[in-house]
Amino acid sequence: MNTGAHTRMALVASAVLAAGSLAACSGSDGDSSAEAVPHVGLMHVGKDHVPSSLDSLTARLEELGWVDGESIKLTWRNLEDKAAAETQADVFVRQGVDLIVAFEDGSIRAAQAATAETQTPVVFLHPQDPVRAELVESLASPQSNLTGVFGPRDLVSKHLERYAVMVPGIDRVLTLVNPEDDGTTAPLEETRVAAKRLGIELAIREVSNASDIQQVFRSLRPGEVDAVIILSPSLRLYFTALTLRLAARAKLPVQAHRKEWVEKGALFSYGMALKPLGTAGARFVDSILDGTPPSELAVEELPEVEFALNLAAARRLGIKIPQEMIILADIVYR
C-alpha cells in the first residue's frame, strides 16, 4: 500500500471513528449482521502516518483465512492523540470487540487501561519495551490480557554511530527533547553515553511545542551544530515535519524514526522493520481468535532493523555518503 492510500485510509478511518463512536454511544454495534464473525478493533495514535505493519498484518491475516468483511470484521481507527485513543479503546470495549490490535505505545496504553476490567485480549505491535512498560510480566509468560510483538528498542546510539560514519567531521548534534515526555529519559541517557564514546557533543534543547522548536532553530548560529536528532517520542509524533522544514532551511541533516520521513527529506532512519512485525502480529490474532488465551502466548521480539537513506537529501546538504553505507542501506531514496 502506498502513502496516498494510507492517507485515504486515515481520512476514511477518521470518519468511521466518529460514526462508530456515535453508534456505540447509542448502544448499537452498528452492524448486527456481522455478529457471526469475530470483530477486531485496530488502533494507532498519530494521524500523520499509518504504520506499515498494518498492511502486513491484514495481508497475513488473509493468508490465514481471516478475510475482512467475510470471516472477520476489522475496524481500523487512526487517532489524533492520547485522549482520542482512550475514548476509542473504551468504545471498542463497549462494542464488545473480540480483540484489540494496538499499534505503538500510545494506543497500547489506552487499550491496556480500557481492557483492565473486561480483560478483552489485546495484541500489541511494536511497543518500545513491553516489560518496562508493564504490559506483560515477562516475555515468555505475559500473565496478562496483552501480548504481541516488538522490535529493537529505540536505537539512539546507533543513530549517532551512523551520523558519525555518514557525516564527516560531525562534532555537535542538536538533540531535541521534551521534558514533559516520559519516554525521554532513557533514550537521552543512552544517547549521552554513546555520544561520549563517539566523541560527539550533544546540544540538548528542551522543547514542547512548535514555537519552541522554531525558536531553537532561529537561535542556532551557523555551524553551531552539524546534525539534528529528535529524541522524545512526542516530538517525533507531532513535530517531525516541522523539524524537517526548519532543518532543511538551516541546511542540517535530520535523523528520523521512520523511513516515511526519510522519503520526505530526513537523511536516514534506522529502526525496527515494521512489516515483519505486522506479519508476526497476525499469528497472535489468529491464535487468540482460535481460542488460545493471550496469557499463554509468549511475546515475540523481532531483531530485524531497517536502514533507509536519502541520497538526494545528502546531495542537497553536501554530504558524501560512504559507498559501504549505501550498500548497507535497505532502502535508498535517490
Partner: protein, 625 residues
C-alpha cells in the same frame, strides 16, 4: 399326551435351530474372517501411513533446520577470512563484512571477531554501538576453543531476555592468523519450524539437544524452564543410539505419561533430535472408526443372516413338518392319509416313497383285518363252546361237591356210630373184652377215626371247591392261635421225643382273618411236622412281618421234601414217600391248608432240601381280607 406332543415338537425346533445356527455360523465366520482380515490390513496400512507421515515430518523438519543452518554457516564462513589489507583498513574491511553479514542474514544479531589469542577485537550488532579494539579475553570460552578445535562450533541454545532462543556459531578463520568469528544467531526460525510441524490435531514436534534438553517445543515454558526429556523412553533410546535412525517409529510417552506414536530425525549439524509425536488415541482414531464400522456391519449382516436362515429354515422344514404331521395321522390310524409334498427334490421323492409305503400298509391292514375277523369269529365260537363246557364242568363240580357233602354226611352218621360203639366197647361199658377183641376194637376205632378225618377233610375241601366256605373274618391273636396249635400237638410230640418251640415275633400279634380256619392250617402243619420228625428232633414255629405281610413258618428236622414234590404235595391225595411209608394222613391236609390260606389272600409253600428238614411257610396279607 403332553409328553407325546413334546416329543413331536422337539425335533421341529431343533431342525430350524440347526438351520439358523448353521447359516448364521457360516455368515459370521465369513464376515469375521473378511472383517478381521480387512481390519488387520487396514491397521497395517494405517500404521504404515502414520509411520511414514511422522517420519517424513521429522525428516522434513530436520532438513528444514539443516537448510536454515547450512547457508547461515556458509555466510559466517564467508566473513571468516583475514582482510586483504592490514591495520585500520583491514579492520574497516572486516567491520564492513560483518555489517554486510548482519544485513544479509537477519538471523545473525551480533558478530564478533576474536583474534588468535582469544581477545574480542571487534563486535558489530544492529542495536549496539560497534566495539573496536581488543579488550575482552574470551580465550577460555567454548566459542573460541571449539572453533579452534573443530573449525565450526555450535553453542548451546540460550534465551535472550528469557524469550527468544539463540545460539552462538563460531568459525575459525582460514589462514595463518586463525582468529575466530563468533555470531549470535536468532533461532526463532527453528522454533517456528517446530511449532508449525504438526500431525493431526493433537500431534506436535519438539527438538532436544544432545543431552535431551528441550531446545524447541510448542509450549515455550517447557523450553524456558530448561526441561529435560532424557527420561522419556523414546528420547533416551534416540540419544543412546539404540533407536533406529530415521523413518522408524516407536511407541513412546509424553510428559503426561500418555502413549504417543513417535518418530525422530537427527539434525546433523547440531546433533539435535527432532521428534514428531502424536497421541496414540488420535493416531489410531480412524482405525477405531473402522473397527466400529466393521462391528456394526457384522451385527447387521448377522441379523440379516439369522432372518434369512429363519426363512430358509422354515421353507426347508415345512415339507418335513408336513410329512411328520401326515405320519402322525397315519400312525393314529388314518391310513387313507397321503403326504402332499410336491417339491421336485429329495423331500418330494421321500414323500412319494412314504405314500407308496402307506398304500402297501393300507392293503396289508385290510388283509389283516379280514384275517383278524375270521380268527375272531373262530375264537368266539371256541369261547362259546368253552363257555358251555365250563358251565357243564361247573355243574358237574357242583354236583360232585354236593354229592360229596351229602355222602360225607351220610357216611359220617354211621361212622360216628361205629366209632362211638367201638369206644363204648373198648371202655368195657358192656362187659369185658379179651385181648384179641380189644386189639380189633382198637383197629376199628383207629380206622373209624381215620375215615372220619378223611371224610371231614373231603367235606371241607369240597365245600371250598364248591364255594360254600365263607370266612368269618375278624381280628384275632395269631400268637394265641399258634400257642393253641402247639398245645394240641405237644402231647404227641412229647410221646415221640420231639421238641416243639414257638418263637413268635412280639410285633406280630393281632391279625385279621378267620381264626378257626387259621388254627386249622396251623394245626395241620404242626401235626405234619411232629408226625415226620424223628425222635430227638425239633419243630419250630415262627412269625415275622415281611414286606407288610405276616409270615408264619413251621420248620422241622424231618426227612425234608424232594424238590420235585414241593408243588405236588399241595394237591389232593398227594403224599411224599415218607407220608406213604408212615401210613398216616389223608393226603388232603396240605391241599385244604393251601385253599384256606389262598382264601385269605395269602400264599403257602415249602422250603428246605431233602434230608435237611423242611419249613412250611404261609402268609397272611397285612390288610384285612
Amino acid at each position: 399326551m403332553e409328553q407325546s406332543s413334546a416329543i413331536r415338537a422337539r425335533p421341529r425346533r431343533r431342525l430350524i435351530r440347526k438351520y439358523v445356527a448353521l447359516v448364521a455360523a457360516l455368515v459370521v465366520a465369513a464376515l469375521l474372517t473378511s472383517g478381521l482380515t480387512e481390519l488387520y490390513f487396514s491397521y497395517q496400512d494405517n500404521k504404515e501411513a502414520l509411520f511414514r507421515i511422522q517420519s517424513e515430518k521429522a525428516f522434513s523438519a530436520a532438513a528444514t533446520i539443516d537448510q536454515f543452518l547450512e547457508p547461515l554457516v556458509r555466510e559466517i564462513e564467508d566473513v571468516a577470512r583475514p582482510p586483504m589489507e592490514s591495520g585500520t583498513r583491514g579492520r574497516d574491511e572486516r567491520e564492513l563484512n560483518y555489517l554486510r553479514l548482519l544485513q544479509r542474514a537477519t538471523e545473525v544479531i551480533q558478530v564478533s571477531y576474536l583474534d588468535a589469542s582469544g581477545r574480542e577485537c571487534l563486535r558489530v550488532s544492529p542495536d549496539e554501538l560497534t566495539i573496536r579494539g581488543c579488550r575482552r579475553d574470551l580465550s577460555t570460552q567454548p566459542r573460541f576453543r571449539g572453533a579452534r578445535a573443530k573449525d565450526t562450533y555450535y553453542g548451546p541454545v540460550y534465551f535472550r531476555r528469557d524469550s527468544q532462543p539463540h545460539m552462538t556459531i563460531s568459525v575459525a578463520e582460514s589462514g595463518s592468523g586463525r582468529g575466530v568469528v563468533a555470531a549470535e544467531v536468532d533461532l526463532r526460525y527453528v522454533d517456528t519450524v517446530i511449532s508449525q510441524t504438526r500431525v493431526g490435531t493433537a500431534g506436535y514436534a519438539y527438538a532436544v539437544d544432545s543431552r535431551g534438553r528441550l531446545v524447541a517445543h510448542p509450549n515455550t515454558n517447557l523450553v524456558l524452564t530448561r526441561t529435560s526429556l532424557a527420561s522419556l523412553p523414546q528420547v533416551a533410546a534416540a540419544l543412546e543410539g539404540t533407536a533406529p535412525e530415521a523413518r522408524s517409529v516407536t511407541i513412546g510417552r509424553d510428559l503426561d505419561g500418555r502413549e504417543v506414536l513417535s518418530a525422530f530425525q537427527t539434525v546433523d549439524l547440531l546433533d539435535w533430535r527432532i521428534f514428531v509425536e502424536e497421541p496414540l488415541s488420535e493416531a489410531f482414531a480412524p482405525l477405531n472408526s473402522t473397527i466400529k464400522r466393521t462391528a456394526l456391519l457384522l451385527i447387521l449382516f448377522l441379523a440379516l443372516a439369522v432372518g434369512t436362515s429363519v426363512v430358509l429354515g422354515r421353507r426347508m422344514a415345512k415339507p418335513i413338518e408336513t410329512m411328520q404331521a401326515a405320519a402322525e395321522r397315519i400312525g393314529a390310524g388314518a391310513l387313507d392319509q397321503r403326504i402332499d409334498v410336491s417339491s421336485n427334490d429329495e423331500l418330494g421323492a421321500l414323500a412319494g416313497e412314504f405314500n407308496r409305503m402307506v398304500e402297501r400298509l393300507q392293503e396289508s391292514h385290510v388283509d389283516l383285518e379280514q384275517k383278524v375277523d375270521a380268527r375272531t369269529r373262530a375264537l368266539a365260537t371256541a369261547l362259546s363252546e368253552l363257555d358251555e363246557k365250563s358251565r357243564e364242568l361247573e355243574s358237574a363240580s357242583r354236583h360232585k361237591s354236593e354229592f360229596l357233602a351229602n355222602m360225607s354226611h351220610e357216611l359220617r352218621t354211621p361212622l360216628n356210630a361205629i366209632i362211638g360203639f367201638s369206644q363204648v366197647l373198648r371202655e368195657r361199658m358192656f362187659g369185658d373184652v379179651n385181648a384179641k377183641q380189644e386189639e380189633y376194637l382198637d383197629d376199628i376205632l383207629s380206622s373209624g377215626q381215620h375215615l372220619l378225618a378223611l371224610i371231614n377233610d373231603i367235606l371241607d375241601l369240597s365245600k371250598v371247591e364248591a364255594g360254600q366256605v365263607e370266612l368269618d373274618v375278624a381280628p384275632f391273636s395269631l400268637r394265641e392261635a399258634l400257642e393253641s396249635g402247639v398245645v394240641m400237638v405237644r402231647e404227641r410230640a412229647t410221646q415221640d421225643g420231639v421238641h416243639v418251640e414257638l418263637a413268635a415275633d412280639p410285633e406280630v400279634d393281632v391279625v385279621t382273618g378267620d381264626e378257626r380256619r387259621i388254627r386249622q392250617v396251623v394245626f395241620n402243619l404242626l401235626s405234619n411236622a411232629v408226625k415226620f420228625t424223628p425222635t430227638g428232633g425239633a419243630v419250630g414255629v415262627r412269625t415275622a412281618r415281611v414286606n407288610g405281610e405276616v409270615r408264619v413258618s413251621v420248620s422241622d428236622t424231618g426227612p425234608g421234601i424232594a424238590s420235585e414234590d414241593r408243588e405236588r404235595i399241595f394237591e389232593e391225595f398227594q403224599q411224599t414217600k415218607a407220608g406213604i411209608e408212615q401210613r398216616e394222613g389223608t393226603g388232603l391236609g396240605l391241599a385244604l391248608s393251601k385253599r384256606l390260606v389262598e382264601l385269605h389272600g395269602g400264599r403257602i409253600w415249602v422250603e428246605g432240601d431233602e434230608g435237611h428238614g423242611s419249613t412250611f411257610v404261609f402268609t397272611l396279607p397285612a390288610s384285612p381280607v
